[in-house]
């Protein structure tokens, strides 16, 4: 067909050499038509970024090698172009934006220079024409006051702005194809919504094609025309969006959908994909997913499934769809998910009263206090035994600080933290140390939360020794083994080191470590946001099961609203150091009263077409917590702001006895 822009055929990319080489991309083929958006969807390590880098011929050298395959851009063979010509293609015909806007810009050059560089190279512009074009581009990506902004340095811009600048740079060469590698993963939901909308608008205006690389089903649902699902270096399914979301064909795709948490799955365990992705250094002689697949039968474990075209534009790599294969009579079918009944909620365990956490800003030679960062400003919370309170907000709103202040890892500036009758802020030294077994924390990053030089047993034992749990070493060893089994690991893991485990397993160890001192409250600080969807489901199931068995209370800090819907009993929404709305999870998520809550919920990309709603677009970024806006903190971004909002901060308005909001609209 003539409108094919990019054609990738049997691409195989290896990292390393010899028999131990990692085949990061294995025999991948797909095509992208002009003006179309194609997504590569998959979990971390499945080879989607490597595919993009192969197309750009930017593989890490000397390890990366394209061993076989063909990449054609508008008929031109990219793999056989000399490096000189390839440089013209990069940035010229193909633009690329990366995941991390913070590190993709050079901090010592102005934004205008960096965009201009690409214009000089690919368009040969200079002088006034150059500055005009830079301004045009900045305008096009929606950066206000472009004349001023182009002379600013990257650190003066916020994360969302930087990603816009990156997009402007990618657009400078007027590419025919834009490769976007997880363009919104590092951004908050409201900013993500802005960037996705921008990308869609630009695509309509310029008619370029886009290769979107993502792990987020929600982003795919909103953006793409066609997509390919990657697993362990292979494309296992391609389809156009409507077909895919109506009926995913490959068992892996189906599992991905089922493992997404949401409110409707509250009372049951999430579907989890057992096991882990096989190492890509293996040379496969069977279906790669067979080990983790519910449908797999003997045939799957001995043969490699062939690519099956179901109809035009749709194909799948699975024996279930291969006609010439005899399928087992018994369909493995869906295993019913175990039900996890909600845990019993008891008396109030934790009561936080007007908690304030102000960090002084020091300036000058004598380090005088020149102001404060109002990280947490007057927060009230309460959690009952066996209850889950979710604390939701964008990055920088102070939710992690609240968690740490409750645990007394940071001593609050003022306010009270009452834990089961004890005022924690008054406790000092040994007295506080002894109470610490009652409240524990699980961190976001399972990689940095364990000392890499200690064995798993030692890591878990440390807290037990400090809290005097278990009388002697043998007793503790027994408890540790028990704990590991409880979180789904094996007792022999005691002697291993953290780096021998995958992300999900590490997070289990962290859970075991916290549980080992028998806490009543666990602060979960984004425990699943560094994990893939299928692994996230495992951890969420584990947390829910443990809550039911042990009657734990959770303070669940997250920005992910679908997780909140699945796990939490009550939600508190934070904006710039203050809680703006709090209430039972069904009410807050289904009937949000604060405009910010509303915007937050609407910005979450929805997988399900039927529940799609109008995205409420928030202007700008989160203001700095060192200089919060006058009046209601949210008014500069609020679509419903009134004159009154600029004057005073709204008081608490009770909607019923459990749901309240701080907004003049409800007042």
């Amino acid at each position: 067909m003539s409108d094919i822009l990019l054609e990738v055929k049997n691409l195989t990319t290896e990292l390393g050499e010899g028999p131990g080489a990692v085949r990061a991309v294995d025999n991948v083929s797909f095509t992208i038509h002009k003006g179309e958006t194609f997504a590569l969807l998959g979990e971390s390590g499945c080879g989607k970024s490597m595919t993009a880098l192969s197309i750009m011929r930017l593989l890490p050298k000397p390890a990366g090698n394209i061993t076989t395959g063909e990449i054609r851009l508008a008929g031109q063979d990219l793999l056989h172009l000399p490096e000189m010509a390839m440089r013209g293609i990069r940035g010229g015909k193909i633009g690329m934006i990366f995941q991390e806007p913070m590190t993709s810009l050079n901090p010592v050059l102005t934004v205008g220079r960096q965009i201009g560089e690409s214009l000089q190279l690919h368009k040969g512009l200079s002088g006034k024409a150059l500055t005009d074009r830079v301004r045009e581009l900045l305008d096009a990506v929606g950066i206000p006051d472009s004349a001023r902004r182009m002379n600013e340095y990257p650190h003066q811009l916020s994360g969302g702005m930087k990603q816009r600048v990156m997009i402007a740079m990618a657009l400078a060469g007027e590419p025919e194809l834009l490769i976007a590698d997880e363009p919104t993963t590092a951004l908050d939901v409201t900013i993500q919504a802005q960037v996705l909308e921008l990308l869609q608008k630009l695509q309509q205006d310029t008619g370029m094609a886009m290769l979107l690389i993502t792990h987020d089903l929600g982003v795919v649902a909103n953006m793409v025309d066609r997509l390919g699902v990657m697993y362990a270096g292979e494309i296992v399914e391609t389809a156009c969006r409507e077909d895919f979301f109506a009926a995913p064909q490959h068992p892996y795709s189906q599992k991905l959908f089922q493992s997404l948490p949401d409110m409707n799955k509250r009372d049951q365990a999430l579907t989890q994909i057992p096991g882990t992705v096989p190492p890509l250094s293996e040379r496969f002689s069977h279906c790669r997913f067979a080990e983790r697949c519910d449908f797999a039968w003997a045939h799957c474990r001995d043969h490699i499934p062939a690519w099956t075209e179901l109809d035009k534009e749709r194909g799948v790599r699975c024996f279930l769809h291969q006609d010439d294969i005899e399928k087992p009579v018994k369909d493995a079918g869906q295993r019913a998910n175990t039900r996890i009944p909600a845990s019993h909620t008891g008396d109030t365990l934790l009561n936080v009263k007007s908690l304030k956490m102000h960090f002084p800003i020091h300036k000058g030679v004598f380090r005088r206090v020149a102001g404060y960062v109002y990280a947490v400003d007057d927060v009230d919370l309460s959690i009952a035994e066996g209850e889950t309170l979710a604390l939701v907000g964008e990055s920088g709103c102070g939710k992690t600080t609240v968690g740490k202040a409750i645990l007394q890892l940071l001593r609050p500036t003022s306010g009270g933290v009452d834990f089961a009758g004890t005022e924690l802020t008054q406790l000092k030294g040994e007295a506080l140390r002894q109470r610490r077994s009652d409240f524990q924390i699980i961190f976001q990053d399972p990689f940095s939360s364990m000392n890499p030089r200690m064995r798993v047993g030692e890591i878990i034992e440390e807290g037990m020794v400090a809290q005097g749990v278990g009388e002697n070493a043998q007793e503790r060893q027994r408890l540790i083994s028990e704990m590991l089994e409880k979180v789904g690991l094996r007792p022999e893991h005691i002697r291993r080191y953290p780096h021998e485990f995958s992300g999900g397993q590490r997070q289990r160890i962290c859970v075991a470590r916290a549980l080992a001192v028998q806490p009543k409250l666990i602060v979960c600080d984004e425990p699943t946001s560094a994990l893939d969807v299928s692994v996230q489901a495992q951890i969420l199931n584990l947390l829910k099961q443990l809550q039911h068995d042990l009657g734990l209370a959770y303070l669940f800090i997250t920005h992910n609203l679908s997780v909140v819907g699945y796990l939490a009993d009550r939600v508190a929404v934070m904006y710039l150091g203050r809680v703006v709305e709090e209430g039972p999870v069904e009410e807050v998520l289904n009937n949000p009263q604060h405009p910010y809550t509303e915007a937050l919920i609407s910005a979450v990309p929805q997988v399900d077409e039927s529940t799609k709603r109008e995205v409420i677009r928030l202007e700008g970024d989160l203001p700095s917590p060192s200089a919060p806006p006058q009046g209601c903190h949210f008014h500069p971004r609020c679509p419903k702001a009134m004159a009154q909002c600029k004057q005073s901060y709204p008081d608490k308005t009770r909607l019923d006895d459990r749901h309240w909001v701080k907004c003049h609209l409800s007042g």
Binding site: L407, R433, S449, M450, N451, A466
Partner: protein
């Protein structure tokens, strides 16, 4: 014979003890063991380690001191034993005649004659000015002019044969040991080891060892018959002096670190971990220290020790002990003057580590600060300490040379490369020039510092997480 324990001897064997203890501890820590295997896996690391071990062996042999018993004299009371005032080391015994073969004054390398003309009584009466024969060097030759080169050559061939036989013997032992350790691995065959097919580059170790053994055999065969590197002004063998200087260099390089480490590690980690007031105080201490010129500090301290020694001559039994106490103080003051750099680095790293989740988790468990620092921070900054120590070593060896050169280094009676270079200053000004003292000191210092630098590169590659290839 009466053993003499110099302070530095005790300290250096203490250090060896610490290293051995650490090695035993590290055997059970797969991560540390793996990093060290990485060091050995690099050919450069293996080769330089063998050279360093050769130097350390010489240094340790030179650190076992004793005083010889004097033969009983007539005035001696029955049962009382007198000892020589001269303190010898095991190395002196090994080197044997190289120490005692003292000429009158300068002689060139491998020469059989003195370097200066003297008036000689002719056998038939009358006098002549000519270069006299040496008392020891080349004494076995009847006509040095024609016989020297062939004699040297035949001795070198003998040395080569000895070295080859020894290396083959050692490689056989190595093969035996390796196959005992890996009984079911057939890849540890004799030829595989020599062709470098094994996991660790044993062949590099063997080749390096072969070169070292050849040099030792050559010294063994030639050293007593000739002065390989000539003699100095008072007729002492230059090679002997250069070999004796190895101990001084090693002492300065290692003991200084021993002095410096507790300061740097404790203060650095405390500053980074506690922050606030503790950090401010420690920062002020080291910024103040680092603004004093190091040379000034060292000169002042060395002069103080000199005065102390001059005022208390009875406190030391022998001149060697006097020189030794001066060496120790030099190490201490060098250590005090050089802990700031490492301290600053460790402060920064601990600053970063204390914010990591696992430190916060430990705090959440109520683990005490002392335990957090020793269990979580210290092991995770050890790679920095190790890299700094190995890198500093070569710098300190060079610093000794510079300090002795300007006269505030070790005692002039002590053999050291710095002292040799200092004396060579005048020798270089002579005409004809006496160049071999300088060359001797230079060759040895160069070999040690190069080996130390290559080794520290290998250590850094293996331990620095940013440079590590494998996770």
């Amino acid at each position: 014979m009466k053993p003499v324990f110099l302070t530095t001897d005790i300290l250096i064997f203490l250090l060896v003890g610490i290293v051995v203890a650490f090695a035993l501890y590290a055997r059970n820590k797969p991560q540390i063991r793996e990093s060290w295997r990485d060091v050995l896996r690099s050919k450069m690391g293996m080769g330089s380690l063998v050279v360093l071990l050769a130097f350390v062996t010489v240094g340790l042999l030179d650190s076992l001191h004793f005083r010889e018993a004097l033969p009983a004299s007539e005035q001696q009371i029955e049962g009382e034993q007198h000892y020589s005032v001269e303190v010898l080391s095991v190395l002196d015994v090994v080197l044997g005649e190289m120490r005692t073969n003292v000429e009158k004054t300068y002689s060139a390398p491998f020469s059989a004659y003195l370097f200066t003309k003297e008036t000689i009584e002719l056998p038939g009466g009358g006098q002549a000015r000519e270069y006299p024969r040496l008392a020891f060097g080349g004494i076995h030759l009847s006509d040095p002019a024609t016989e020297t080169s062939s004699d040297i050559l035949s001795r070198l061939v003998l040395a080569l044969v000895q070295a080859v036989v020894l290396v083959l013997l050692i490689s056989l032992l190595l093969k035996l040991w390796l196959s005992l350790r890996h009984p079911d691995d057939a890849s540890y065959s004799y030829s595989a080891i020599w062709r470098g097919k094994t996991e660790l580059p044993w062949h590099v170790a063997l080749y390096t060892l072969a070169v070292i053994l050849f040099l030792i055999a050559a010294v063994y065969n030639l050293g007593t018959a000739y002065h390989i590197l000539g003699t100095d002004k008072i007729g002492q063998d230059v090679l002997y002096q250069a070999i004796k200087s190895i101990r001084t260099g090693l002492m300065i390089g290692t003991l200084t670190t021993l002095v410096m480490l507790p300061f740097a590690v404790m203060l650095g980690i405390m500053a980074g971990y506690f922050q606030g007031l503790v950090d401010d105080v420690i920062q002020y201490i080291y910024t103040t220290f680092s603004s004093i010129p190091g040379i000034l500090l060292i000169a002042a301290a060395v002069l103080m020790v000199d005065v102390y020694i001059a005022n208390n001559p009875d406190a030391f039994e022998t001149s060697v002990e006097r020189a030794d106490i001066k060496l120790l103080f030099l190490c201490i003051i060098l250590g005090v003057a050089s802990w700031m750099g490492l301290c600053r680095m460790l402060r920064g790293e601990s600053f970063k580590l204390r914010e990591l989740d696992y430190v916060q988790a430990a705090q959440a468990f109520g683990v005490s600060n002392r335990l957090i620092m020793t269990r979580h921070i210290l092991p995770n900054v050890m790679h920095i300490v190790l890299i700094a120590v190995v890198l500093d070593f070569s710098g300190l060896v060079l610093a000794e040379a510079v300090l002795s050169y300007i006269g505030v280094g070790v005692d002039p009676s002590m053999n050291s490369w710095g002292n040799m270079i200092n004396r060579a200053r005048l020798e270089m000004a002579r005409d004809p020039m006496v160049w071999w003292s300088l060359l001797g000191a230079f060759i040895f210092m160069f070999a040690l510092v190069l080996a130390a630098n290559l080794f520290s590169d290998a250590v850094r590659d293996a331990f620095d997480p940013r440079l590590r290839k494998r996770t």
